[in-house]
């Protein structure tokens, strides 16, 4: 979908927004590729919404340039012209005090699209989002999910070149949210619209993103495909925020032909890594990569690391359970409810946590946290 050789529909250079003397965002470079869904992920207060508003030309940056189709946005008249080529969906549905139909057709009317074309588009998108029967209802009487569908229809009816979304599914209950994400996913796929979405939700990002940019303290810490971001992040803070799994602190104790022994407290684990002895590291290990075994029922496996511990927390999450095992350091594993029942896991029970040396991703502890493209570790190494 992404194509580096074509002109970026949207690009920001040296973008900075300062409010009341405080720098909210500082983005040296950001490119949105044609047809991609770029999800900007960040914790509350990281500057996500500010970045989105600046990119959508709804907030004037303090410094820097925003380019649409390679051309810098210059004066006020071009701002209006560009705004008429994009669409924005906010966290709140923000429908006006009129009927659903009037809300959806308003955008085309404002942009000079009238008559049958506007009517036809409005009908089509109301139907696509399953709210055609609500067309005559006053928008203020809609439920949260219905209002969100109306606001999405209001955006897509504009046939935007770029769609901006600010945590659009945030305030919805879980089933409504899931249904809407699935519908939205389908529509984005059908239309191929270039999309920039900000969210703090990891699962939303994973469900929708072609690329993920992690924004923390107003700076993009990492940008890449979901696989790159989740598997190869070089930043411990990012790893914790995106919840890559267990993040432990340790030090490389020895190095033998690409296999490092890493000391965590008084214990050691083996990790596939080229890092030299003496380097302090953050050890990232996905919950799903840990296998739990009953001490009485050990099986032979290729996993190089095995730690005996005691279960000190069992947290059910839907059909799964998060099991925290104290092995001298805490390890969290995720297993299914059925596995828990089969193994008869209880609090205080002795258990073995096992994982492969290749499942672990090490982050040198004092890595640079500047902006970088995932995978280009040489850029980071040179500064660390």
């Amino acid at each position: 979908m992404a194509n580096n050789r074509s002109i970026c529909p949207l690009e920001a250079k040296d973008l900075s927004v300062t409010l009341d003397g405080k720098e909210i965002i500082n983005i040296p470079s950001l490119q949105v590729r044609p047809g991609e869904v770029l999800v900007v992920m960040g914790p509350n207060g990281s500057g996500k919404t500010t970045l989105l508003l600046a990119l959508a030309l709804l907030l004037k940056p303090t410094a820097g340039t925003i380019l649409y189709d390679g051309k810098p946005v210059a004066d006020q008249s071009s701002v209006l012209q560009i705004r008429r080529r994009i669409a924005v969906v906010f966290q709140d549905s923000l429908l006006l005090n009129m009927t659903v139909w009037d809300n959806v057709i308003l955008g085309p009317h404002l942009r000079g699209i009238k008559g049958e074309e506007a009517n036809e588009r409005t009908r089509r998108w109301l139907e696509r989002f399953g709210i055609a029967s609500l067309a005559k209802r006053p928008a203020k009487t809609l439920s949260g999910g219905e209002a969100k569908r109306a606001s999405l229809a209001r955006a897509f009816v504009l046939n935007p070149e770029i769609l901006f979304l600010d945590e659009p599914f945030n305030s919805l209950d879980a089933p409504t949210r899931q249904a809407l994400i699935e519908d939205f996913q389908g529509v984005v796929h059908e239309t191929g619209v270039t999309t920039v979405m900000v969210t703090h939700d990891r699962n939303e990002a994973l469900a929708l993103a072609d690329r993920i940019a992690v924004l923390m303290d107003g700076r993009i810490r990492i940008i890449g495909t979901p696989q790159e971001v989740f598997a190869f992040t070089e930043d411990e803070k990012v790893a914790k925020f995106i919840d890559v799994g267990n993040v432990l602190r340790g030090t490389v104790d020895s190095q033998t032909g690409g296999l490092a022994r890493v000391k965590v407290g008084n214990l050691e684990m083996e990790v596939v890594s080229d890092l030299s002895a003496g380097i302090p590291v953050a050890i990232c290990l996905a919950y799903e990569d840990i296998t739990l075994l009953l001490p009485a029922n050990q099986t032979v496996s290729s996993a190089r690391n095995r730690f005996v511990g005691e279960i000190n927390k069992l947290l059910p999450i839907g059909s799964q359970v998060r099991v925290t095992v104290d092995c001298g350091f805490p390890l969290v594993a995720v297993i299914t409810q059925r596995s828990r029942a089969d193994m008869g896991l209880e609090l205080g029970q002795k258990i073995i946590a096992s994982f492969k040396a290749s499942s672990i991703h090490l982050i040198p502890h004092q890595k640079s946290t500047d902006i970088h493209e995932s995978g280009k570790s040489s850029e980071i190494d040179s500064r660390s």
């Binding site: 508003l53 669409a87 924005v88 709140d92 923000l94 308003l106 404002l110 942009r111 504009l158």
Partner: protein, 232 residues
């Protein structure tokens, strides 16, 4: 008690017979106050929107001035307008003192801060994100203002009610700049004051009843519109 009963009896007869003087006074009152309300509405909404949407040095001071103006005593307004329109005053060349135009000017000055103040307060209450949403839909500056005012129509009706109520019932300014001239500048409030001073309570009561009915009718109408909007 007899005075009261006699007064109401006389007022009832005047109302039934459609006394020509009473009708002239009522019509002039409506013309002056409705014109002043309409002009204040246009100017006040524009001014209030501009102040509500922009940030500039001295904005807070201007808003406090407007808020003070919302409670300005009509006699002070009447005095100021009289000085300006006096033959030797800065606007004396207009020669409109003791005319309905002068009364309209004075009533605009009374109603304008009320409408402006309501508008500023309403604009500030509109969700900032809703403003961004309207802009993001591709609204031009004019379209943006139109949609914003459309969203604010219910609170603005309250501004109209408050503005009209304040000027239809004021007497000080109308008396000073209009002069209470028969068939020319005599309105309901100035006529009531004069009839009471003459001891003609019948006409005074009849005019007061009309005044109350006008205020009541306008407010009932606007309340119905407002409540219909809320129900929707």
């Amino acid at each position: 008690m007899d005075l009261l009963i006699e007064g109401f009896k006389q007022a009832f007869l005047l109302l039934i017979q459609g006394d020509p003087e009473m009708i002239t006074i009522t019509v002039l009152s409506l013309i002056v106050s409705l014109t002043a309300t309409a002009i204040s509405l246009v100017l006040g909404v524009l001014l209030g929107t501009a102040i509500g949407l922009t940030r500039f040095w001295g904005r807070r001071f201007i808003i406090s001035l407007i808020n003070t103006g919302m409670g300005a005593p009509p006699v002070v307004v009447g005095l100021t307008v009289s000085i300006f329109l006096w033959r030797s005053g800065p606007l004396g060349f207009l020669h409109i003192l003791y005319t309905p135009q002068a009364m309209i000017v004075a009533q605009i000055i009374i109603a304008l801060p009320i409408v402006t103040g309501f508008t500023v307060a309403t604009i500030q209450q509109v969700d900032a994100k809703l403003r961004l949403q309207i802009l993001a839909l591709g609204a031009s500056r004019f379209q943006f203002l139109w949609l914003l005012l459309r969203e604010m129509q219910l609170p603005l009706l309250a501004a109209v009610m408050a503005g009209f109520g304040s000027i239809i019932s004021e007497v000080g300014a109308s008396q000073m700049v209009g002069g209470n001239i028969t068939d020319q500048t005599r309105v309901l409030t100035t006529a009531v004051v004069m009839e009471v001073s003459k001891g003609d309570f019948g006409l005074a009561i009849a005019l007061s009843i009309i005044l109350m009915l006008i205020v009541f009718a306008v407010n009932v109408l606007l309340t119905i519109i407002q409540q219909r909007g809320k129900v929707q």
